[in-house]
Structures are given as C-alpha cells and as structure tokens.
Symmetry: D2
Subunit: 441 residues, 4 copies
C-alpha cells in the first residue's frame, strides 16, 4: 500500500478547516451526481469504445480513489465496501493491484447504478468521519482526490456524449437554454486577431502555493523565437472552407500517419458532423442541430488540426508559446468565462463550445499544441502509488491547453497540461493557430 | 404459461378462434416479460460479445417482428411506433431494409428499458385490435411470430447468462429451489445405456398439420447403417475424466480447426467452469456453485464434443440417427420433462441442466450432431420476407437436437433443428454419444 | 509422365516390382521439378497469403514426407538431411512433432532453392536404395507418398498463380500454345444439357483394389431423390449475365455468411477478373488476356457458386448426386480429357480451364457441391501418423468433385473428394448446376 | 512533377566537377551492390514484417529516386525503364503518384533480382549521361540521391538481418573476422564515465556549407539545465543485471504504453537474444553466437531503454543535450571510428556493435533520446516532391542520435536526427544514459 504523501504546507484548495475540507469534498461529489443525473441506468452502463468508460464506472472509480488512497490508510477500522471493487474500479495503478480490463468495462452490468450510488454514499460517510478527525496531513491527498474527481467530471461528459451518439435517435443529455445559446447565432464570426510575443527566455510550469499536478513542474526556462498566437479558436465556418477546399482529400496537407488514419477511418468532417440534405448538422449534448458557423470547431484530432493549420498557412502553437502568452496576458486577460461546470458559467444548458465574441485564451475547446507530452526538465513524479497519475503516459501523446466547456473550474490555469493521442476526437478538442513572426515567415 | 403446441387440423399454427389466438399470443408475450423481469436496465443493455444480444434488444426485436410482418401489412391505419426502430431492431432481414450493425447492439443506450416496455405495450394493443378482426389468413404468421418470440426466450436466457458472467461478482439471475435441484446430488450418475437401431431406410423431417419451421421439411428417406445411441447425455463427472486424461492437451483427439481454436482461446474446461482451490465451480443462472458430477455437461463447443467422443471410443450421432431413434421411441419414450419454460417443468429456480435418472432423448442440453446444417432434399424456404428465417444460414454450422433447459415447450419436437457454429459455447450445448453397431466397430 | 494409376490386384497402390516402383516414384518427382522450373528463386519464395505455400516449400515438404514416413523408419542407417527440416517442412502432422507456423512460411529465405534441390536429390538417392531392397510392405506408403506429391503438384500450380498475380507486371508462368487454346474461341458455348437420374438407393465411395484416400471409404448406400445434373460447367459468358443482373449486389441471392464476405471483401467478379475499359480481362498462368465467354468460370467461392445457382433457378449438386451420375455414365462417359498434367492432356501451354464442346462430368474446374465435408458412415482414418491426412479436416469445408486443369492424372476418379472452405477462391473452383426432377420443382 | 530544387551554392559532398560527381555517385551505387551481394534472390525477396522492405526493393527504390527526381526532369528524351516501376518502387511520395501497398512488398516476386540489376544498370548509364552534361544545378539533388541511397544501405542491412533471423537455420550474412572482433572479449567493460555540461543557452541544428537534411534546420537556441551524459553506451552485461533484477517483470519501471507492449509481445530480453541452456545467445549478421557482456546492448525499443534508465536511477538524454555535448567535445572528441560502412572502418566482418574501450559519443548503436521527433522552430520542408522526405513523419516518433555500426560515413554528424516509433527494435538501437547535475538529483 503506498504511503500517504507528505502534505504541502500551503496548498490552496487546501481548506483551512475540517469543515471547509468537507464542504469542498461534498460539493465536488454532489456535482458529479448532478452531471450523472440526466443519464439513466442504460446510459451509465454502455462503453461505446475502449477509450470511453461507462458513467457508473466513473462514479465508482472516483469513489475507489478516495477509499484506496485516503480511507484505507487513514481511517482506523475501515473495511472496503466490497473487496471485488478494488479489482473492478482500479483504473491503471499497477502498484495497487490487478484490475478488470479497461476495454471490457462496458460488459459489467453488475454492480449497477443503485449499487454504485450506495458505494458513493458509504464512502462519503466514511470520508465525513475521516475529515472530522483529520489532521492537516490529509490536505494534499484530499485535494488530489477532489481534483481527480473533477477531471473525471469532464471525462464523464465527453464519454456520455460519445455513448449517446451511438443511438440513431440522437438523444438529448440536457437541453440548451431557450434564449440565446449555441445554434442561434447566424452572425459572422469575429475576424482573427493575433497576440504577438517577442520570444526569448521565458519560464513555464507551475510554482508556488496553488495545487498543481506533478506534470506541471518544475517551472523552468524555455527559449522561444518571436511568434504570434491567434486570439480565438478556429470556427466551424472556417473549417467548412477547409472541407470545401478538399482538406480531407489532399494528402500533401497531412502528416503521413494522419493521412493513413484519415483514409482508414473515412474521415470527411469532424466527429459528430453529419451531412444532411440541407447542410451539416452536429450532434451535441443538447441533441442534434444545424451547424453554427460562428462556434469553435470541436472534436477534431491532432492530425486534422495540424492539416488545417498547414492549409491555413499557419501552424499549431507549442505548449510553451501558449503558456508564455498566458503569462503575458495575465489572469485578467485570459478571457472571461470558464466552462459550463463553473458556478459562474452558463446557468443551464448542455455543455458545448460557444462563439467567442472577444479575445480569449482559455475557451470551450482544448487547443491542440505541437508539443509532445514529455517530462519537464527535472520532473519528479509524486512518491507512492499516486506517482502513476501522470508520468507513465509520457510518450506518443500531444499536449492540449486552455480548457473546454466541460472543464471543471480551476483546471483552466495556464500551467495545466492536458494530453491525448493524436488520433483522439471524442474529447472537446479544437484548434488555435500560431505563426512565426513576420520576418521569419 | 403457454400450453404445449397441439397439432391442429387447421394449421399451420392457427388457433381455432380469435380468442384462442389472443390467448396464445398474450401468454407468450407475458412469458418473455417474466423472463426479463429479474434483469435490471443495466443487465438488459449489455452485449457481452458480438453473438450475444442485449435483453432489451430481444424484447424489442420480437415486437418489431409482429409489427413488421403482421401489423404493418394487416392492420389498416397502423403507424410504426417509431420509424427509427425498423433500423434498430431488424435482425437480418435484408429484404425489409437496412439495420444497425449486430456487433454494436450493446452500444445503444436509448431507447432504454422503459421505452421498450412502452413499445411492447403499444404493439400488444394493436395486435389485440388485429386479432379481434382477423381472418384465418393470420394463422401462419401469428404462429410464426409466437414461435419466433419463443426462440428468443431461449436466446434471452443464454445471452443473459453470458452477460452476468462478465461480472466478478458472480451475480444471480434467479435462485435455485431450496429443496432438491442441481448441485445437491452427490450420487453417482446412472451408467450409460444404449438404444440400438437396425438402420436401413428411415424417414426424417416434419410432415402433417403441426407448425414447423421450413428447415424441417420436406420429410424424406435417409439410409442408415445400424447404430446405437446413448440413452442419456454425457455428465460433468465423465467430462472430468476427459480433462484428467489430458483431453485439452492432446491434439490427436481433435479436429484440426478445433485444436487451433482450443489453443488460441486457451480452453481447459467447458465455458463457465473455474478451477478453485477446492475443485471446480461452475457459473449458473443461479450463481456460482460447486460442480455436480451427475449433471449433464453443458457449454461445450462442437470441437470439444467431437474430441470427447473420440476419446471415449465413440462418435457423435448424425441428426438422422437422432431423429430415427426419436421415431422409434415414440412420444412416450422421449423422456418425461421438458425444460424450465414448460408449465409442467420445474416450478421455480434457475434454468440449468438436471441429472437424468431415467433414459431420455430430449433433455436439458442440446446434443451436438455430426451433421452439417444443410437443406433437406427438395427444401423450399417460405415465401416472402420470412423466407430469410432459416435457409440463408445453411453453411458452416452444425445441427443440434433435443432441446435444453431453456427451450420453450413445443420446441423439443423430434424434427426440430437447432444450429450453431462449431465454436459456439454459450448456448446450452451438451454431448450425446453414438456408436456403430458392434460388428462394424 | 506418369501413367494413370491402374488398379492392381496387390494394392493399395503397389507396383509389381522394385523397378516399377522406382519408375513411378521417379516420374512423379520429375514432374514436380518440371512444374517448378518456370519459377525463379523469387517466385518460389513468396507466400502471397496464409493459405498459399511457397513453391520451394512444396518441393521440400513432399520430400520430407518420403523422408519421414519411408526413409527414417525403413532405411537402415539413414540420417536426416538436416535436422531442422523436420521443423520447417512438416505441414500439420501433430504426432510427428512441432512445426514452423504455416502463415509464416514465406518469411523463410533459407534454405533457398538450391538447398531444396539438393535435399530432393539426396532423398531421391536414398529412396533408390530403399526401393532396391524393399519388401512388399512399402507398397502402401510409397503410393501414398506419390499420391501426396501429386496433390501438391496441383497446389503448387494454384499457389504459384496466386503469387504471380500479386505483381502489377502480370507475369507469365508458361505460354499458351500458339494454335488453338484458350482465349481464341469466340464461338457461343454449347447449350446446357442435363443428365437425369431417377434417384433411389445408390452406393457411393471407393471399394476394391485401387488406391484411394481413407476419406473415400467405406462405400455405402445413400438414398437420393430424382434429380438432374448439368452436362457441363457454367461458363464465363453465363457468369457475365449473373453480374449484369446484379448478382453481386442482391443479398437475397446469397447465404448470409456469403453476403457478409462478399461485402467485406468487395467482390464484384471472380478472382483474377479485372474490368478494363474494353471489357473484362482475366489473369491466367499464361498471363493476362481478354475473357473468353465460352470457357468455364473458375476461381469462385462456394458462396458465389451457391448464389449463382439460386439466381439461375437451380441448385448445386450433392456429392452423392455427382458420384451417382458418374457411376451411371461409367468410365467411358465421364468425358475424354483429363487435365494438363496428364500425358494425354494438352501438349503444351499453361493450365487453364478449356471450353467443353461435349458433355463431360470431369473437367478443368472443380465443381462445388452442396455437401459438407464429413466422414462417411463407418469411416476409419488410416492408422499411424498418416491418419492425420484427411480426417481431422472434416468440419466447415465443402466437398468439390470432378478435378481441374491442374489435377494430376488418376485424381479425377469418381470417388475422389476434394474440399475447401466456402470462402476459397484461389483453387481452380467452378460451378456445375443440378436441379430437382421436374415434378418436384 | 516536382520542380528541380535550386542548388545550394556550396554543398560539401557537392563535388567540384562532373567527374567527381560521377565518382561519388558510382561509389555509392557500388557499395549498395556490395552490401546486397551476400544475399541470394530468396533473401532479397522476403519481407519479414510490414516495417521491413525486401533487399531488391531497396535496390530498386533508390534507383527509382534517381530516375524520378533527376533523370525524368533533367535528361532530355529519357524514358522510364518500365512504367510499372513508378507504382512498385515509390515509397511514400504522395505528390508523385500512387504506389504498391508497403505491407505487401514481399508478395511481389517479379521483377526479380535480375530485372532489378538491369534496372540499376540502365539508370546508372543514364546518370552517366546526365552527369557528363550537367550544370551545377544538379548538385543538391544528386547529393540528396546519394544521401538517400546511403540511408537505404543502413536500412538494407537492418532489414536483411531481420529477414535472416526468421530461419531456424540461423544463417550467416557475412563472417566475423577471425581475429579480434565481437564475441571474443571476456574482459569486463570499462566503468561508466560522465561528461558534465553546465547547461544554459546552447545552439543546436545544422548550419553552414555541408549537406544536411531539412529536419536538421534551422539552427536555434535551446535552454538546458546542467546535466551529465554517459561517455559510453550501456552494455549487454549491464542489461543482464536489469533482466536479473526483474526488469521485464516490474511495471513500475515502465511507461504505461511500454508495459502494455512488453506484455502483449512477451518481451523478456532484447530482440535477437535467446536463452540457451548454457546462457544467452544473440543472432547477428555473422550468425548466432554467445552474448558478449562487454558489447553495447542493441535492438531494444524506446520503451525498454526508458525502463532501463529508470531502473538505473538515471534517464535518457534529450536530443539537445546529446548535441550540446557533441559541440562541447568537438570533432576530435566524438570518438574515433565510424561504422562498418566507413572505408576507414573494420576491414571485414559483419556489422555489429563493438565494445567501446575509450569514451565515444558516436558509436555502433543509435542512442534513444527522450525527445519526440518534432520540427525545429522555423522549420521549412524542402520545396517540391522531396519535401515529403522528412517533415510528414513528425508525430509519434522518438529521435535517436549517434549512428550505428551500419550507418554510412558522414551520417554520424552531430546534427543528424534519426527517428523511429517507440516500439521499434529491429534497427540497431541502444541506450546512452544521462542524469541531472548532482545538486538537482
């Protein structure tokens, strides 16, 4: 069993009191349940492809995380809710034990939704006991458990979207708000603006008191050439021009592996787009509706993003470039809203990328960067079992930056590194362009 | 529960009155719902492998069958319950239209169980209208719809068993009765007896007024050599001896393709068997329990059945041999009980093969025959869309005879031809031996 | 070239003297080398798909057969030519030992053609020693080795054709004769005739002194309904009509598994056909040339043959029907020529199906039958290692009858049972129609 | 047809005269033939896996490169040797036309070795004509053609090794020299030394007059932390300690994807190692022989290299670190010998990694770096068809540095970037360790 990690003296997100700790824990747990609520037992059971996990698995796995890393080592006398759950709900922690094969999660009908709900309730009760008597030592692991569950909130939504999309009935997860919202704007998108950066030595990575994942550290210098970064994401309307110009039929625009994938999969548009007699429709968490040219394009692979950038005479940014601009803009300049999971976000409606009327660096679709997901110089994984959280995935993935409409609040921070294989399309993945300074072009 | 299908003068399959027709229809529909009742929405959604269909799919598909072949052509003004259902719930009728890919049935969470229940109710109401005003023309198609749904009752059970088996929790579909029943008998099985048949020209196939599937016709002569047929199925205890004698490690016992499959799949025992420290256990619809050596072995492939027979110095019977013995024995000699779906069957408990204390030709596990599933001489498929019911599967499958514990009443008739690929293990498939007459051995 | 095998009193297959035995052995071996001669080392190395074996493998494997089953047990002091060859050139004899994976035969560059030639020569020398001193006991195994090598002569040709077809250069194995020969005849094919058979009890299978494979025995009665059998194979011209009538686009004509295969493989015509601007061309062992409508269609799967027959309002014959007609016609009535490997066959040119100007039951393309390849009643495999020759393949294959242009002389006998999976197209497989007697149609 | 590129004014490798150009061309072509000479037609035909190309394909493809990019656009009246060759021997140039599927190159027996030899001779004659009349414009493309063929010389050797390894005969490509050479030294390897680098801003990438590939440009600054780089490659003896310590059984040492691959492939040692009763043997181009603990470990994947480094308490270097050390050492410090293809290299014997008695940065096995293969800042692919040479492969590959025993002379330069997927084992891939400066560890 991995040791409990040593606390960090000044985590923010590390509540000052047991009551505050419980409040943060409880609010996170409650939001997960609220996100699952529109999904029936059937929806929560299906695994639509190996990369997707069933909703009830997400709900159980996040619970197992608290049970394994906090309750079992920390709460005297705690007995596992069900000994078989360690095998069923461990995701990838080799040091913790064997686990049910990931690609077969959708074959397990039992435990069902009701049992998972009971599991969550039992762990919540035990967590209340633990937190009531906790010392500050819990701070890091508690916050990690919260952050972990928050990450799974985003996964839950993007996975559920993929599940619902399998049905020819085009089912609705949640309705869009009746006023405003996506799909209504016929206005032309705002023209591209560019943020210029003069390059030189910059520092990237996390440092200081706030919580961060180990993969965001250590903060370190990087040397950049002068460059410019687009002040908004690429829109669906722009993507239509790419399609109309043969974007999906011209190998010279593509990476070799991307072209092979495009051919093998028969890609002709982003995921969830469908050609209808009257034009393109897209499937959203609010159901299927006509494409809105003003909204950011979403659900494209790295291969497509890279091909688009080449077609547009630009390129994708590196993650250091993105982060350098974020530092330059400062917190106030990142853009106003965060995603739909933010209490300050849209009051209702299905999470979906919204048009960006003003410049914003964070946004409703993750921006693919041209950076491979690799350790920062001097990177050290966390000690103990949670050291498997990030480091062991550092090969054959690309970094994404900026958050999306389903990203929980706080995860839009400039140093946050998301990562997916270049072929992934089911996350909320979009495109932000960059280009070399004019003199170098 | 439905009565055994009596051979009516006015058949095929046509009850004497609209009221009788409705009674038969309604009882069949009710039994399906009763069989699905122990399965929650999660259980009803999972497809554990491409050959398995979700329970809610079985419930909807059988409903679609009545809607497509009876209501739409026969009930004036009937509108489809949902136009998308024709695509979702057509199984394999090419002439009726496109359909959702079979291997992806488990990816569709919606329509869910409640919608399927509503679909069934709506079709039942329309069927009541149809039958209230029906002419005699409906007889055949109504009976076909009933027989079709009965076949899916068996499929529903064997598929649900496979689904439940994916969970490490070993869930229970239905409890075994507390008294008697499988798993309790430690008594040694009855020694093998043999029914001798002198061979010569026999007639096999269906003829006469009772309902039968097209693949059972026409009745025709077959010439047989003298032979003997075992008067019971091979037991688990006998199978243990095969295992202990290296049955799963000796290629000389196996067909070449069977050995390759055995190696590739890592077979070491029948499906659902598991080696425990204290001996073998088996997973049943009543949960996991210790192996009962007296009960018939079940869930073996044709490859295994064939290898076992070779090891035992015997062989598998042909379907003509099996049917010739059935004719020789006559209805009274076939054996007493039918399966668990028979009103005269076990009053309660999970369907599972029971020991055979007396000679019986039908039984609780289908007997693999050495006959390939081919058309009888002069075979003509039914006309119309239902002509796709049987004939187009007549290649690369083996015939099985005798019924199983999950077979609906009436389907144990001597001319009934079940069929599966040689690799199938998830149906209730067992082994009955045959051998040449002594002088030919 | 070898004579047609005469039925000897002292058989199975035993020539009257050591000199005659050697002559038969040597002629067979020489023919193999003659067939391989047009193929260079590169041609002899390639394995174009798992079912195909490289030419040099055929040459070595047939040699290994004599070494393993005759020299090692029978020639005192004989040492294996190379101990590694037993592993490399065993095909599927489990009782003889492990072997190199079949699907990887084309990855082995060494031993090369020269080493295989040396291996053949060394074994021939040892065989000469063995036969010089042989007792009568050798008769069966020697004849089996000869028959085995003859079978591989046909395999060598059909495999080499598939290999050569992979090159866009359309290479030539051997030239067609300048006069006459395939491709020149524009004459319309002879109209179909039908041989009628009155049905009833017939006997099929081999019996008597001549050599036969174990799978041809025992001779046994079969009861047939009255039927008719076409007196020639289906022609390419007739197949064109099937294509033009949507044969490859109409699922109602196909077995379910056949249609799935047709769709998955994108079949639109027989193997080796190619649509050219000016019409269809076909690839032959003589290179690519325009399709001759008068020649028998070849290189079709069972699925296609079955669909064609259904489209034509007929059906495929059973193997018993085919053999019953053969018996009825008698040796004189089978048709005159045998294949290109027959000393009395075409003097030169590449083996390829020739038009059939007169009624013939044997022919230049194997006729798919609707019979699954199963053991005859009372079948007993040969004793010892050679018992793996035939019996263990008796599942999921269809029987073919009648021989082809590449069949060695003697293998056209009425009781000979060829067999392939229903999807096979690379053998010389064609179609002969049957139909029920008029009154039953 | 792509335009001829504009010459670079001062390429080295760009000979001063037509005679010198011809000499360089001819020597390169001759070396290719010398490397193919020990391989017979069978060896030259086999493709042992999709990543491997047949020797005769390498010989033809390099010839096609000269034909396509120099002769067709540059030599008046030149006609293609065979129009089908453009389809057969194009590797991946989408802008030039369609091509035969890569994974099926080993299925093409014709054109054979003799035809390829004739093709090479014909193109050589035409190249002589072209060079005799050439202006300086040819310089870049000629040099590119030479460099391209040199790269294929290394591929030819590593591919041929993989082909020969498929035979259980353990065939020999070329003999090791009788004196000295690999396999003879039982001496303990030299202890590790470390080169320290103080970090800071360094410049990497190519610049200046010499030939380089586009992916080596532009030269640009990179900021490094202080680090140390091992002064030799990891040895087989050290790898044995990794194996003995459970290196292939401990998931905590591996990247997640690496561990999955290790499990799926059953890796227990580097490629070409085999456990014998008396210890490990390795397959080499000189045949199979006992493992020499003093020689550098070779034929390991990135996953294994990364796991080893973690086990050793070190890490892999970045490509910038490797190149910074190379700059620090200067040409004289890189190490003395280059590979076996260097005229100054070993006089004879099979290319194989040799022990490193003195510190050396280049070596006989490529060093995996932790850097993903990505474009340098400001990277521009070459214009025209040759622009597909490098850039389109910049995803999901790792950079390797330092050359190997089969690397042609000149390709060991500090800025040279080799790249392979993380799973590749068949190139001559080894491991060089790095570590953070002590204070950071």
């Amino acid at each position: 069993m991995p040791p409990i990690l040593v606390r960090h003296a000044s985590l923010p997100g590390q509540p000052a009191s047991p009551a505050a700790a419980w409040a943060r824990y409880e609010a996170t747990r409650r939001l997960t349940e609220a996100l699952a609520a529109p999904l029936g037992p059937e929806d929560q059971t299906v695994q639509s492809m190996p990369d997707v996990s069933p909703t009830k698995w997400h709900r159980a796995h996040t619970t197992w995380f608290f049970e394994t890393f906090l309750l079992l080592p920390g709460l005297a006398g705690y007995e596992p809710f069900d000994p078989a759950y360690a095998y069923l709900f461990n995701s990838y922690y080799e040091t913790v034990g064997d686990r049910y094969p990931r690609a077969r999660r959708g074959l397990v009908s039992r435990p069902g939704v009701a049992e998972v709900t009971a599991y969550r309730a039992a762990v919540d009760r035990a967590m209340a006991d633990l937190l009531a008597g906790s010392s500050e030592d819990l701070g890091f692991l508690l916050e990690l458990g919260v952050q972990h569950e928050q990450q799974h909130q985003e996964l839950l939504l993007m996975d559920a979207k993929h599940v619902l999309a399998q049905s020819p009935l085009d089912p609705v997860y949640a309705s869009f708000p009746t006023s405003a919202g996506p799909g209504t704007g016929a206005a032309a998108p705002r023209p591209h603006g560019w943020w210029a950066h003069e390059g030189g030595l910059v520092a990237i990575g996390a440092e200081g008191p706030g919580f961060c994942f180990d993969n965001e550290t250590p903060r370190h210098p990087v040397y950049l050439q002068p460059f410019e970064l687009a002040d908004r994401l690429v829109t669906c309307g722009e993507w239509l021009a790419f399609i109309d110009d043969g974007g999906y039929r011209r190998p010279e625009l593509w990476l070799s592996e991307g072209w092979a994938t495009c051919q093998a999969e028969g890609w002709q548009a982003p995921l969830y787009w469908r050609a209808e007699p009257e034009g393109w429709s897209i499937f959203t968490l609010g159901g299927r509706r006509p494409l809105d040219p003003a909204e950011p394009v979403c659900h494209v692979s790295y291969y497509e993003a890279d091909a688009y950038a080449r077609w547009a005479g630009a390129r994708l940014p590196t993650e250091a470039e993105w982060e350098a601009v974020a530092e330059q803009l400062g917190p106030a300049g990142l853009g106003e809203g965060e995603g739909f999971l933010d209490p300050k976000g849209p009051a209702a409606g299905a999470p979906h990328p919204r048009p960006q009327p003003a410049p914003t660096l964070v946004g409703d679709a993750w921006a693919w960067t041209s950076s491979a997901y690799l350790p920062y110089p001097g990177f050290r994984p966390w000690a103990g079992g949670v050291g498997e959280y990030n480091g062991k995935f550092m090969v054959n993935q690309q970094v994404l930056r900026g958050g999306c409409c389903a990203t929980p609040p706080g995860h839009h921070r400039p140093s946050y590194r998301n990562f997916y294989p270049a072929s992934a399309r089911w996350p909320f993945t979009g495109v932000r362009l960059a280009r070399d300074e004019r003199s170098a072009r």
